[in-house]
């Protein structure tokens, strides 16, 4: 099982390395969002008047849940955003591998379906995880570029905080990777796949608080977004980076929520995938 998994995983990374355009595109999206979208919407409402220090804290708490400006708030949101967008294509890869007969070849071997699935999950999760750190690094870097706002970390992130961030990124990436991989295995043609993905993708991202300033969201959307897995992961990041005073729960609770989402979705996905990949069918 391990040899099969190792061999197939190696294949995934070999293929990735052969496809620099895909890597470039994967990096381009967060780069553009961080460089243009985030900078374009960047406001600091405390600059629009003569506020006392206490007032400033209250305003920032209401708008950006304690982040010092929109950009910092948004940069944390982007980490959740890329976990979704960067896992899209791993399901598409399955579909293309089916079209090109590659999947059939693997299925013709005795390689266990867990290895077939696992190899793709490993490669498919590694990318959003790497991208998440790319996003964080880039956002931090922008602080040092004249004319750009960067991510300003206002809380002290200890080892625990770093681990919590890591766990949030990991859970979110693995969860979406599993989801899209399952779509790819169950669906036979690219059109259907992308239709399904968009149907899932946009609602998930747009009902999360990854991009909107918290204070600008209507109440009902705030309520909905609380249960959104992307929000849960992003909350962990924001609490850790900017302090948790305005959040009703600590990062541990959000991680737990995220874990529950992941467990349920991955559980369902594995049942479906097992059925679809069982030998002789």
């Amino acid at each position: 099982m391990l040899r099969e998994l190792a061999s197939l995983t190696r294949r995934e990374f070999l293929k990735l390395g052969r496809n620099p355009q895909a890597i470039f595109t994967a990096l381009l999206l967060p780069l553009l969002y961080l460089l243009l979208f985030g900078q374009g919407f960047n406001i600091n409402p405390t600059e629009f008047g003569d506020f006392t220090a206490a007032q400033k804290v209250a305003i920032l708490a209401a708008y950006f849940r304690g982040a010092p400006n929109y950009y910092s708030y948004f940069a944390a949101g982007m980490v959740g955003f890329v976990a979704v967008t960067a896992t899209l294509f791993i399901g598409a890869n399955v579909i293309f591998d089916k079209l090109f007969g590659i999947f059939k070849r693997v299925r013709g071997t005795p390689a266990p379906s867990a290895a077939v699935f696992g190899s793709r999950l490993i490669a498919g999760s590694a990318q959003p995880i790497a991208l998440a750190f790319f996003v964080l690094g880039l956002a931090l870097l922008f602080k040092h570029i004249p004319g750009l706002t960067g991510l300003e970390v206002t809380a002290s992130v200890g080892v625990l905080g770093a681990l919590e961030i890591l766990a949030a990124i990991l859970l979110l990436s693995v969860m979406f990777a599993t989801l899209f991989l399952t779509f790819g295995i169950l669906i036979e043609n690219p059109q259907m796949y992308f239709a399904a993905v968009n149907l899932l993708n946009l609602p998930v991202l747009l009902t999360s608080d990854a991009l909107y300033p918290w204070g600008a969201m209507p109440h009902w959307l705030q309520n909905v977004s609380q249960y959104n897995p992307v929000s849960l992961a992003v909350n962990v990041l924001r609490e850790t980076l900017f302090g948790s005073s305005v959040y009703p729960y600590g990062p541990g609770i959000y991680l737990l929520g995220l874990f529950a989402w992941a467990a349920v979705l991955i559980g369902i996905a594995l049942v479906l995938v097992r059925r679809a990949l069982r030998p002789l069918d």
Binding site: K15, G108, T109
Partner: protein, 339 residues
């Protein structure tokens, strides 16, 4: 079944979507070490049969035993003993030939070093060593097929399934490919189950054949046996202009089944053409009809097919000799709502 059979198919049936009887009660046995051909026009049910035998598709009814193993019960074990070359190309174009073989080796649980060694051997053997480190998408059609063969052989299978392996190859490529198969059989005693819709291939390359049409096997036997069942050879005799009619004379000769006169020549179906010729010439001479020409023809599989199915072997949708044809077909299969 006798344990001596490499492949035993027993009343195999596959019904797709509850109505398409792609394979309809097919039974046959393949002996160890033989090249067994499955000949039939497009859509006859060849690929479906291969899939059922190679643990890719569960039969609707019937059973298959491969190398003594019940396919329905031990699909994984069967997969370890067989190599399958699918009708469509399955090589990963983004990997080199060598990497394709190594990944396949890993799928059989071989350690990496062993996979590397095996890949080195196989690229040598399949004569793709020079291109082994090039991406497979740059391979020509013939090289691709040889790579497919290398991948299918990576775990040293005892039985090889080839589904239209020469589809889309030019005659030279086809000959080359068959050279490898013959060699493998000779050197390793491999049993080969091969489907084809090329009559000439079935005739010259296979030890025994099953002819399949509309999901049913209509005849089984060696190419010669099948032809013999048509009643032997066809001897055409031409006589001098104005010679007397020798139809009756020829009909009375030993071994003759039928004699047809067609403007100045006689088409004689007889058991064995060659010894018949001197007898026929002598008889014609005696009857005062000088013989000006004789041809002896073994009936071809075309005629066999015609005999057993009542129609011409349809080959109108044979693909052109380009890789693209294979590609297009593959994409159509996929988008055509199969499955």
């Amino acid at each position: 079944m006798q344990p001596t059979q490499a492949i035993h198919a027993e009343n195999l049936v596959k019904v797709f979507n509850g109505k398409i009887r792609a394979v309809d009660d097919v039974s046959f046995d393949v002996r160890p070490g033989e090249i067994f051909g499955f000949l039939g026009p497009n859509g006859a049910g060849k690929t479906t049969t291969v899939s059922m035998l190679s643990a890719g598709l569960r039969p609707t009814q019937g059973r298959a035993v491969v190398d003594g193993l019940e396919v329905g019960k031990e699909p994984e074990a069967v997969k370890r003993r067989i190599g399958v070359i699918f009708q469509e190309s399955t090589a990963d174009g983004d990997l080199t030939g060598r990497e394709n073989i190594q990944v396949a080796a890993g799928c059989y649980g071989m350690p990496r070093a062993e996979g590397r060694k095996r890949a080195d051997e196989l690229v040598e053997r399949m004569q793709i060593a020079d291109a082994a480190d090039r991406l497979a998408k740059t391979y020509s059609g013939g090289m691709r097929r040889r790579l497919e063969l290398a991948v299918g052989l990576v775990h040293d299978p005892k039985i090889l399934f080839l589904d239209e392996p020469t589809l889309g190859l030019d005659p030279q490529g086809r000959n080359g490919f068959w050279g490898f198969i013959q060699q493998l059989r000779k050197e390793e005693g491999l049993t080969v189950f091969v489907t084809t819709h090329y009559l000439d291939e079935a005739d010259t390359m296979c030890d025994r054949l099953a002819i399949i049409d509309h999901g049913k096997i209509v005849a089984t036997g060696s190419p010669n046996e099948l032809k013999d069942r048509l009643g032997g050879d066809i001897v055409t005799i031409k006589t001098t202009a104005g010679a007397p009619d020798v139809t009756n004379v020829l009909s009375t000769l030993i071994g003759v089944h039928t004699v047809q006169k067609q403007d100045g020549s006689y088409r004689v179906k007889c058991a064995n053409g060659e010894p018949f010729v001197p007898l026929a010439v002598e008889a014609c001479d005696k009857a005062g009809a000088g013989v000006t020409g004789v041809t002896v023809k073994r009936p071809s599989l075309d005629e066999v097919f015609l005999e057993f199915t009542g129609r011409e072997f349809r080959d109108e949708d044979a693909p052109t000799a380009t890789d693209r044809a294979v590609m297009v077909q593959r994409v159509q299969n996929r988008f055509g709502g199969r499955r």
